[in-house]
Symmetry: C2
Subunit: 171 residues, 2 copies
């Protein structure tokens, strides 16, 4: 099976959620998965839920929370770069059939690492390794090299009504 | 927690995948989930994967496969209606905090049940029950009553290159 590059971007709900679904589907078929999450750092419900698949899904978080109320600092950069290095390793070893870089587009948007570094890691992957990259603001270079791109487009969102993120539903 | 109505529609990859992710996230928070899948009937990898969460996620399939090569018949209609009746029950009992009607929009598109029947079931749900409806061709009436709508928009897809659905990745 040849591995492709899938990108889930756009401003709508469902990108990380779809990445979790992809990890579960792969695990259901017995495929080993490396799930790297950038920027976000909290142990969200979905991260906890994946513990039941610890035999097939390796989950790593490389974030310290989002940048809505603060600037990215040196430690954010270091964490993200470590995440990219670990992902690059996971992509080329052949130990994983699916490598997910959740919120990597956001990491690039905040200049935690460069698009060139990401593309190089993807480019050096083992041939049968499928790659999934998620996050808003996917750079054009990533879209160009991707085999599949889905834009999650927000048509209507209850956040506009003032609904806060709820445990078990959004996080 | 008040329950909302979420819709994932559009022609892009990621709708059922996101629904699986939502089920996993809810389970990770200990919320009981009813996952009804319409139209599709095969035991896909993701359906098998959910078995590890059988204590929290009840999975029911009400389909016999898609209608690309055949017409919907009486048995398809019966199965789908049973699925809608079971879902309506799950929505109102209070036994579930999240009820997912995967591919229900497709069931409506093929006239296996009506949009009015779906809206009535959703309308009669217990107040804290979150509802997720997926599938292409979401009817306008559903979009109108939804609190959140994400359109999964296909920007690029490898099926166009002749790639077949692969076990563990698409199914």
């Amino acid at each position: 099976m040849k591995g492709y590059v899938q990108v889930y971007t756009g401003n709508g709900k469902g990108k990380t959620t779809a990445a979790i679904g992809l990890a579960i589907r792969a695990a259901g078929a017995g495929l080993p998965v490396f799930f790297a999450q950038f920027v976000k750092g909290m142990k969200y419900s979905e991260i906890g839920a994946l513990e039941r698949y610890a035999d097939l899904i390796a989950v790593r978080q490389y974030g310290r929370g989002c940048f809505i109320t603060r600037e990215a600092d040196k430690e954010d950069v270091e964490q993200s770069r470590k995440g990219l290095a670990d992902s690059a390793e996971a992509l080329k070893t052949g130990n994983y059939r699916l490598v997910i870089l959740d919120e990597a587009c956001i990491a690039i948007h905040y200049k935690l690492f460069s698009i060139d570094d990401l593309l190089q890691a993807i480019d050096r992957r083992k041939a049968d390794c499928e790659v999934v990259v998620t996050g808003r603001y996917a750079p054009q270079e990533l879209l160009d090299m991707a085999d599949l791109v889905t834009e999650m487009k927000e048509v209507k969102h209850y956040y506009a009504k003032g609904v806060q993120a709820r445990t078990g539903i959004e996080r």
